[in-house]
């Protein structure tokens, strides 16, 4: 909304006297505001199309987008819906087919009920489906992550599939319970969701993954990753572009390939890394809302009440005072910090993202088996911050070196 200084000014773009919105320090009317946000996102989609095009012929644009039911991913869905409608209406346009995927992270029920139509996530998704007819929707349960081979499950403390007849949801719940802190849980959850979305996109041969992070969310993610000890991964996490995805064949947590994996592993232990090289794929990951601040996302949402009402009321992130630090994650601390910074100092928020984008993306032959980012081959040798006198440290053995510093921290505390 327009600040007091801008109240009563006409829209700077179209001179409409009714300009209740503030857009980067100038007054704007509703149409210009919507137009601005739309065009920022569409511009990024155009870049995506140009950068991933493999031939000069028009090709279908099949994108998977993540939906958390939060304001940003809802706005992304809305924009994709508009785009799909626009492209469908034009004869010469190549097909634009977005698939919006929600990952249901509710682990309180067992598998069967969460996939049924009356799960809360499914019910909410049905409303989205109704509101955005030009987009396909799908709900995937978090427990499906256990079937993915893009995570090396042998490095994680997840019980084997056959143990005690537990279903996947229970196994995952036990895994999360075993993690040392709220931050670790939040961190692993975020990684799992990302892996799942990538999994859906790759499995069905979609051409890119879209994530709805706003500028503010990206800035917050940047500093969260820094505080999680994953500074090395920041340029890979924050930038648009190709992301290397490794698969670890025969080692999915379902144990279906466990026998074969063990047999092959015994014979070719030394060539382990070479094996993995064969299973690397590059996949584009883009953030179309990267140039839109969180407040602008919320304002944009407010311009369409029918969409705004879809978003569940957010009880956590309201700027109430912190009750206990014990129940907070680093992610939440950062989000709160940037909530405070964004209003008066939006330039700093964009600056963080811009700075992170300038960092090199170093490529190495080895990748972290959990977060999937290239392993820093120099970092551990130059690091002198710990004496290594922690008795728990040595226990992990060689498996630990397959994980990056930040993932080790998340699993070990």
């Amino acid at each position: 909304m327009a600040g007091p200084a801008l109240a009563g000014r006409p829209c700077l773009r179209c001179k409409n006297p009714d300009a209740p919105y503030e857009l980067r320090n100038v007054a704007a009317c509703q149409d210009c505001f919507i137009d601005y946000v739309d065009s920022k996102a569409v511009k990024r989609l155009t870049v995506l199309q140009r950068e991933t095009r493999t031939s000069s012929r028009p090709e279908p644009r099949r994108y998977v987008a993540g939906l958390s039911f939060g304001p940003s991913s809802t706005v992304l869905t809305q924009i994709l819906d508009k785009q799909a409608r626009y492209h469908a209406s034009r004869k010469g346009s190549s097909p634009f087919e977005p698939l919006v995927v929600h990952i249901d992270t509710d682990l309180s029920n067992s598998n069967s009920s969460s996939s049924s139509a009356d799960a809360p996530a499914q019910r909410l998704l049905a409303k989205y489906r109704e509101r955005f007819p030009n987009v396909s929707f799908e709900c995937v349960h978090l427990s499906k992550v256990l079937a993915l081979k893009t995570i090396d499950w042998t490095t994680l403390p997840v019980a084997a599939a056959t143990a005690a007849g537990e279903d996947d949801t229970e196994r995952l719940r036990h895994f999360f319970d075993s993690l040392p802190s709220v931050t670790s849980r939040a961190d692993c959850l975020r990684l799992f969701v990302r892996h799942l979305l990538l999994g859906v996109a790759m499995e069905r041969s979609y051409s890119a993954l879209l994530l709805g992070h706003s500028t503010t969310a990206l800035a917050s993610l940047t500093l969260s990753e820094v505080a999680n000890g994953r500074g090395f991964a920041v340029p890979w996490q924050i930038n648009d572009g190709l992301f290397t995805v490794c698969t670890y064949g025969g080692r999915s947590a379902d144990g279906d390939g466990a026998g074969a994996g063990a047999g092959a592993g015994a014979g070719a232990q030394d060539q382990d890394d070479d094996d993995d090289d064969d299973r690397k794929v590059q996949f584009p990951v883009y953030y179309p809302l990267r140039e839109i601040l969180k407040a602008e996302v919320v304002t944009y949402l407010g311009t369409t009440p029918s969409v705004r009402d879809l978003v569940p009321a957010d009880d956590a992130s309201s700027s109430s005072s912190v009750v206990s630090h014990k129940d907070q994650s680093i992610e939440e601390v950062m989000a709160r910090y940037f909530e405070g910074v964004e209003g008066p100092y939006s330039g700093i928020v964009t600056n963080v993202v811009r700075t992170a984008g300038k960092l090199d993306r170093l490529v190495s032959s080895r990748y972290c088996r959990l977060c999937g980012i290239t392993l820093d081959e120099e970092g551990d040798s130059t690091w002198a911050g710990e004496l290594g006198d922690d008795p728990a440290e040595g226990a992990g053995g060689s498996d630990v070196s397959k994980l990056c510093y930040g993932c080790k921290r998340s699993l070990g505390g």
Binding site: T355, A384, G385, L387, Y405, G413
Partner: protein, 394 residues
């Protein structure tokens, strides 16, 4: 409930819960572990050579007092054969620095080290009291910080010493990492985590042996060793700093104690991702340098975010974002095994070179500077406008 025993020696009663990892230790074990960790830092970074003359930047505050005490202990225990000297800067702030200098003088006797005090008045012809009288209470920290950076070097030169150690702790380094990210300052990000700065291009190198030591542990160490230190804040520094990098770090530490160390680690790793690859470390970003504002939270002025924001506004408009972000989309060619999809490159308009800083020398005083005149001389010039001409000596 029986008293908890120390996890390390399993015999004594634990009296310390380490802020760093929540291990419960007895007094002796805590002191030993703290000293061992500093020793590890010194050895693994090869900070000193036998017979080296080293000046300890001493303010009388907790960090530098602990640094002096630990270095003296380790020097004797591990036979570093260092020649240790205390070097203090007198900014000329009555009611603050004169009192803390008394502490340093006592430390000099306690640790049996020579002490050298250099004053702003003799170096620059201005005491901070006079500066504040001229420019007011706002923004004077800039002057003090800029002057102090050079003062330590000049003091070391007077003593014929080429190595100054400062009491920067892990919290300070983590704060600098976050500040430089918020500020978008890649050159500083690349050098701020180096344990040794200055050196080849400058006559005096700086190092921070307490780089991995938590501020809270430093306080505990000082407490349990019953060290004599001075803990009053500078009378000119503002007190409340909501929303600053420092308070963010304190919040992160509460959520996960390892966060401070993790930020330092991230900073070290990111330094190797910056355009100048962490090379050419110099000491010019240590405005919070030792011998300055005695309290930890007074190291940055209260309106840092507002200052940053106005700097950013000057440099960029929001629209810059889109071109910059895509400019570096291609991975470096070092990994040959990467399968490259045929990707059309963006047009050349967006690949503007990232500016690197070049290190030169100030035309007036010869101190290292990326501009033709160093910051101290620039500030002095503005101060001296209303005074008869004075130049820096030394």
């Amino acid at each position: 409930m029986p008293p908890i025993t120390c996890v390390r020696c399993q015999t004594n009663k634990a009296v310390v819960k380490r802020p760093k990892n929540h291990h419960k230790l007895c007094r002796e074990c805590f002191i030993t572990v703290f000293e061992d960790e500093v020793h590890h830092t010194i050895v693994s970074s090869k900070l000193f050579y036998p017979g080296e003359k080293v000046a300890i930047g001493a303010s009388g505050g907790k960090d530098s007092t602990v640094l002096a005490s630990v270095l003296k202990t380790l020097n004797e225990r591990h036979k570093y054969e260092l020649d240790l000297v205390l070097l203090s800067i007198d900014e000329g702030i009555k009611g603050y620095r004169d009192d803390s200098l008394e502490t340093v003088k006592r430390n000099a006797v306690q640790y049996d080290m020579p002490l050298k005090i250099v004053g702003y008045d003799e170096l620059y012809g201005w005491t901070m009291d006079q500066v504040v009288e001229t420019i007011g209470k706002k923004g004077n920290c800039t002057y003090c910080g800029v002057f102090r950076r050079q003062a330590l070097d000049r003091g070391a030169k007077m003593l014929g010493i080429k190595h100054v150690v400062t009491g920067h702790n892990a919290d300070d380094v983590a704060e600098t990492v976050l500040m430089n990210l918020l500020r978008g300052d890649l050159p500083r990000l690349s050098r701020s985590t180096s344990i040794v700065t200055g050196g080849s291009l400058n006559d005096v190198k700086r190092s921070k042996p307490l780089k991995y030591a938590y501020e809270k542990e430093i306080v505990l160490y000082a407490h349990h060793k019953k060290l004599d230190y001075f803990s009053t804040e500078c009378i000119y520094s503002p007190e409340a700093f909501r929303g600053t990098a420092r308070s963010l770090i304190k919040n992160l530490e509460k959520v996960r104690p390892s966060a401070i160390l993790d930020i330092v680690r991230s900073g070290e790793d990111m330094a190797r991702l910056t355009p100048d690859k962490g090379q050419g470390a110099c000491a010019c970003d240590e405005s919070e340098g030792m011998g300055g504002c005695g309290s930890a939270n007074a190291r940055t002025s209260g309106n840092e975010l507002a200052q940053m924001e106005s700097d950013i506004k000057k440099q960029h408009t929001h629209d810059d974002l889109e071109t910059e972000i895509t400019s570096d989309g291609t991975p470096k060619a070092s990994g040959d095994d990467v399968v490259k999809l045929p990707v059309r490159q963006r047009r050349s308009k967006d690949s503007g070179p990232i500016q690197l800083q070049t290190l030169g020398k100030c035309v007036k005083c010869g101190y290292m500077s990326s501009q033709s005149m160093c910051q101290a001389c620039t500030l002095l010039e503005s101060l001296n406008k209303n005074r008869p001409e004075i130049s820096i000596e030394g």
